[in-house]
């Protein structure tokens, strides 16, 4: 198609006085492919847009160049305008002659303004339409992990009428919910019953994920249940695979056993009927192995308070920093102190040794500035907060990175807390780090929102921006290796040739593949080598 370009220059209400608009307009008018040059005072307002619309329609142009303020302010608006006129928004090329030109310099800047517009013109010539189309999504979700998080998400989704398959590795649902029960009240049995009763939730227990293929809206998941292999498709997948805690035998100089117990064991003891011999002195200790976790603080405060109430023991806590940066934890810390729990803070690790059938803790308390020696009947040891069994395997299967502690990494820890680098695959709760119940609940609602947004329209938009020239592709697999979104794959072109293909649905348009392709077979439309070079050459030509 013959390129026919319209150029709109905007003088921002006449305020860009250091640009000679008629002069640069004259220079541009005679360029090849340019149908007209219009000078406007306010392209961004109703009046300006109206004039622009009628010009585009009457002249029947197929490329639009706009020189105005920062694209930050105007690009979205103009793209919408083009779309209304049935012109592909990718056929728009912008030059910022306000912030990056007129405002940035003193004195006449007409030459620079002209250069900027010329760059946009030469780029516009090479632009091609970027088509979007809608692809149907499967209105069904797979939730992996039948603990508190997984069950809660399934229940929330069933409220929205979204069909859910809840998969659990163990033979029963529930996960580590027992630990929550004593302190926070979610009732394990009631929750399991509700999940079982919900018509839209299908439960598969004793099963594991062995493969995930496909892309957002249409994932094919291989599930292994005993010897049986199941193949199912889902629109989205939520991983809620939880965490594990552990007191490693080698962590303490003396073997954990009767008098050094885990926090989990304490919770069990507290749920059992009161023992005959209540431990007189109990020591809690944390920050020995992992100083940067909130979990030990919370477990210790809850445990210490429960012990005080149930057994009336003397309770001492040894730690470095109490992690109070979650809702309500400072209050819990205060309550513990009011109830008579004594806190010692150390900088150097205390020594722990056996003393007959008791345990001796020796520490230097930095607040008292004195050495403290305490002989306890029972020591409740810090548990390491670790990713659950199989996290590593699953992460390599899914090609999702883990963080330095082995937990699933979010796409961007900050922007979309529950999303991952692969669109349509989500991670929630403690499988992505040590969150605590408040933040876990926030995660649950966040993922439900994401899934609703994704599945309720019934379709997702596919933007055809990154293209592989299969003739140039030498199937070196570089793109497949570097793509963080698992969007690149090999496809059979004909009986002889295989080439890379970019799935536009999975693609996040980061451009890495196009940049690294050694054969230059991948084109990122709008920022292709030719388009960028044309802009650079445009300055050179002046």
């Amino acid at each position: 198609m013959q390129v026919k370009m319209g150029i709109f220059l905007c003088d921002c209400g006449g305020s860009l006085k250091n640009i000679d608009f008629p002069r640069i307009g004259g220079n541009l008018e005679n360029l090849e492919d340019v149908a007209f040059v219009d000078i406007s005072h306010n392209l961004c307002l109703g009046e300006g847009k109206k004039a622009m619309t009628s010009r585009i329609l009457t002249e029947n142009i197929n490329r639009v160049v706009i020189a105005a303020c920062s694209p930050e302010f105007c690009e979205g608006d103009f793209a919408v305008l083009l779309e209304k006129l049935r012109l592909n928004p990718n056929l728009l090329s912008l030059a910022n002659i306000r912030e990056q030109c007129s405002w940035a310099h003193e004195g006449d800047v007409s030459a620079k303004a002209l250069a900027l517009v010329m760059m946009a013109v030469d780029r516009a010539r090479l632009l091609e339409p970027v088509e979007t189309k809608e692809v149907a999504v499967k209105n069904e979700v797979l939730v992996v992990g039948g603990g508190f998080c997984g069950m809660k998400v399934s229940l929330e989704l069933s409220q929205l009428g979204i069909r859910t398959t809840l998969m659990e590795r163990e033979s029963t649902l529930g996960g580590q919910i027992r630990e929550l029960e004593g302190f926070y009240g979610p009732q394990r049995e009631a929750m399991i019953k509700a999940v079982e009763k919900a018509e839209t939730i299908e439960i598969i227990t004793s099963a594991e994920v062995t493969g995930v293929e496909g892309k957002i809206g249409d994932f094919t998941v291989r599930i292994k249940k005993g010897k049986k292999k199941i193949l199912r498709t889902f629109g989205a997948i939520v991983f809620a695979t939880g965490y594990k805690t552990e007191v490693a035998a080698g962590d303490f100089p003396i073997k954990p056993g009767v008098n050094i117990i885990s926090q989990q064991r304490l919770a069990q003891l507290l749920q059992a009927p009161t023992p005959e011999a209540k431990p007189e002195t109990i020591g809690f200790i944390f920050d020995l192995f992992d100083e940067n976790s909130r979990f030990p603080t919370l477990a210790t405060l809850n445990g210490a308070l429960a012990v005080k109430q149930r057994w009336g023991s003397e309770v001492y806590v040894f730690c470095k920093n109490v992690k109070v940066d979650s809702e309500g934890v400072e209050k819990l810390y205060r309550e513990a102190r009011e109830q008579g729990v004594v806190f010692f803070k150390f900088d150097e690790k205390p020594t722990i040794s056996a003393d007959d059938d008791r345990v001796k803790i020796e520490a230097k308390d930095v607040l008292l500035g004195e050495d403290v020696t305490l002989t306890c009947n029972l020591v409740v040891a810090e548990e390491k907060f670790l990713p659950s069994e199989g996290t590593e395997g699953l992460s390599s299967l899914l090609k999702i990175k883990t963080d330095s502690r082995g937990f699933y990494q979010e796409e961007n820890v900050n922007i979309y807390p529950v999303s991952s680098e692969r669109k349509g695959i989500f991670f929630i709760g403690n499988c992505r780090g040590d969150l605590g119940l408040g933040r876990v609940l926030t995660d649950i609602f966040s993922v439900v929102s994401r899934i609703r947004e994704l599945l309720s329209p019934g379709v997702v938009e596919e933007v055809d921006r990154v293209k592989v020239d299969s003739q140039k592709c030498v199937a070196c697999l570089t793109c497949i290796r570097v793509c963080p979104h698992s969007a690149a794959q090999l496809v059979q072109i004909d009986s002889e040739k295989v080439a890379a293909d970019i799935s536009q649905l999975a693609c996040d348009r980061c451009g890495i593949c196009a940049a690294v392709c050694p054969a230059k077979a991948i084109k990122f439309e709008g920022y292709s080598d030719e388009q960028i070079l044309a802009q650079i050459e445009a300055i050179g030509a002046l």
């Binding site: 006449g14 307002l45 302010f73 608006d77 100083e291 809702e327």
Partner: protein, 416 residues
């Protein structure tokens, strides 16, 4: 009565913006009500704390969201506006909104700046927006403008190419109908003057964390405005306005911002000595452990919060703190002391609580219906997002904003 599916979001900070976007992308019509002339809230005045690498302070998450909100067809932004009354209930709220006169219409202003050039007052009565402001339009300061003070000046109006200036604008009241309300009114930064012995406001080299954020944001580096000198010895004092007799909570943000700022100061000026005085360091959070470990080499951490700050010779201040291991009070001089001020409930929270019929919790933040359900309130159909419910950092506020939007949509969907 038919359920109204539009939703009012009160507060245009990071949490409110996130909620609004989430709702609008989910198909709802959203009214975003902001008291100030621009949306963005507190985070808009914070600085990027990157050194040679990103320190993940999340401040940069705001601008992109701001422009997304500004151009979203389903979000109407009402700036300079406050909620003065609410009636009705879930599915059918009537929200009374009062909008201060906007002498410059954000719809028409193209930010060309010609009005400022002709404004005859000093300082100018017309002010430009900050670089990332949304809406990006100029505003008139009533106390400076000659015309608004009754004189006959009309210069700006004569030059304005888009007729954006309208002096006849009056206070406007309107009623919005909505099915649900999300409250995202944010927080107040703790007023450090309340702690008299730290002498904030009295000595120029005692600043708050917020002051430092603004200095870095506006100047790019840390130096005294009076003599252009860079401080050589800097202290941070943690938990100012957190974890004390009046504040039974941890503000959750101060340890992290202090460590990030300290690292930034050292990065820009490697021979600066930085000391952080603390009670308990809060170093949990994704990736923060490694960051903290790196900082331990360059920053001196001292356990215990200083007792008072006094004047010292040659423009310095003396910090008195307890040396615990020696059991005595130490005195040390610093060029600059930064008070790591915490997050406090907004002073006017109770007014809004009264208007909306919500409860306030012990600490003065809005109360939730039940513990651990941090978005639903005692009023059905009114939800909380962000730090108005309790201290939150930017990522937590974003997550909370999404969460509140989800609850609101879910509840509205269920109501017939």
């Amino acid at each position: 009565m038919k359920t109204n599916k539009s939703i009012v979001v009160i507060g245009g900070g990071i949490a409110g913006i996130t909620s609004a976007l989430e709702l609008a992308n989910g198909g709802s019509t959203v009214y975003l009500i902001e008291r100030e002339a621009q949306i963005g809230g507190q985070a808009a005045s914070f600085c990027c704390k990157a050194t040679e690498v990103c320190s993940k302070c999340s401040v940069c998450l705001l601008p992109q969201r701001l422009s997304e909100v500004a151009s979203h067809p389903q979000i109407s932004i009402l700036t300079n506006s406050t909620v003065t009354g609410v009636s009705g209930g879930l599915g059918n709220f009537q929200v009374e909104v009062e909008q201060k006169p906007q002498y410059i219409s954000p719809q028409n202003c193209i930010a060309c700046g010609m009005c400022v050039e002709v404004c005859p007052t000093t300082p100018k009565a017309i002010r430009p927006p900050s670089p990332e402001a949304v809406p990006y339009s100029y505003s008139i300061d009533e106390s400076q403008c000659l015309r608004l003070k009754g004189e006959r000046c009309n210069h700006c109006r004569e030059v304005c190419p888009t007729d954006a200036i309208a002096f006849e604008h009056k206070l406007e009241r309107q009623q919005l109908n909505a099915g649900a309300i999300i409250v995202a009114t944010g927080f107040d930064v703790f007023n450090a003057r309340e702690v008299g012995c730290l002498n904030y406001g009295r000595y120029p080299n005692v600043l708050t964390g917020l002051d430092l954020e603004r200095i870095f944001r506006n100047q790019g580096s840390l130096k005294f405005s009076s003599n252009g000198k860079k401080p050589k010895k800097v202290a941070f004092i943690q938990c100012v306005g957190s974890r004390d007799e009046n504040h039974g909570y941890c503000s959750q943000v101060c340890c992290k911002y202090a460590i990030r700022l300290a690292r930034l100061i050292i990065y820009q000026n490697p021979d600066t000595e930085v000391t952080i005085f603390y009670i308990d360091l809060q170093t949990a959070g994704k990736g923060f452990a490694e960051f903290y470990k790196e900082c331990q080499e360059s920053i001196r951490f001292i356990r215990g919060v200083p007792i008072e700050i006094l004047e010292a010779p040659s423009d310095r201040v003396e910090v008195r703190f307890e040396n615990i291991s020696e059991g005595r009070v130490e005195r040390e001089n610093f060029d600059l002391v930064t008070l790591s001020v915490g997050i406090a409930p907004r002073e006017d929270s109770w007014e809004l609580a009264k208007v909306l019929g919500m409860n306030l919790g012990d600490d003065g933040f809005f109360d939730t219906k039940e513990p651990f359900n941090s978005v639903e309130t005692n009023v059905e159909g009114i939800f909380l997002a962000g730090a108005c419910q309790g201290p939150k950092d930017i990522p937590d506020s974003i997550a909370h904003g999404i969460s509140a939007a989800e609850r609101a949509m879910e509840v509205l969907q269920r109501c017939k």
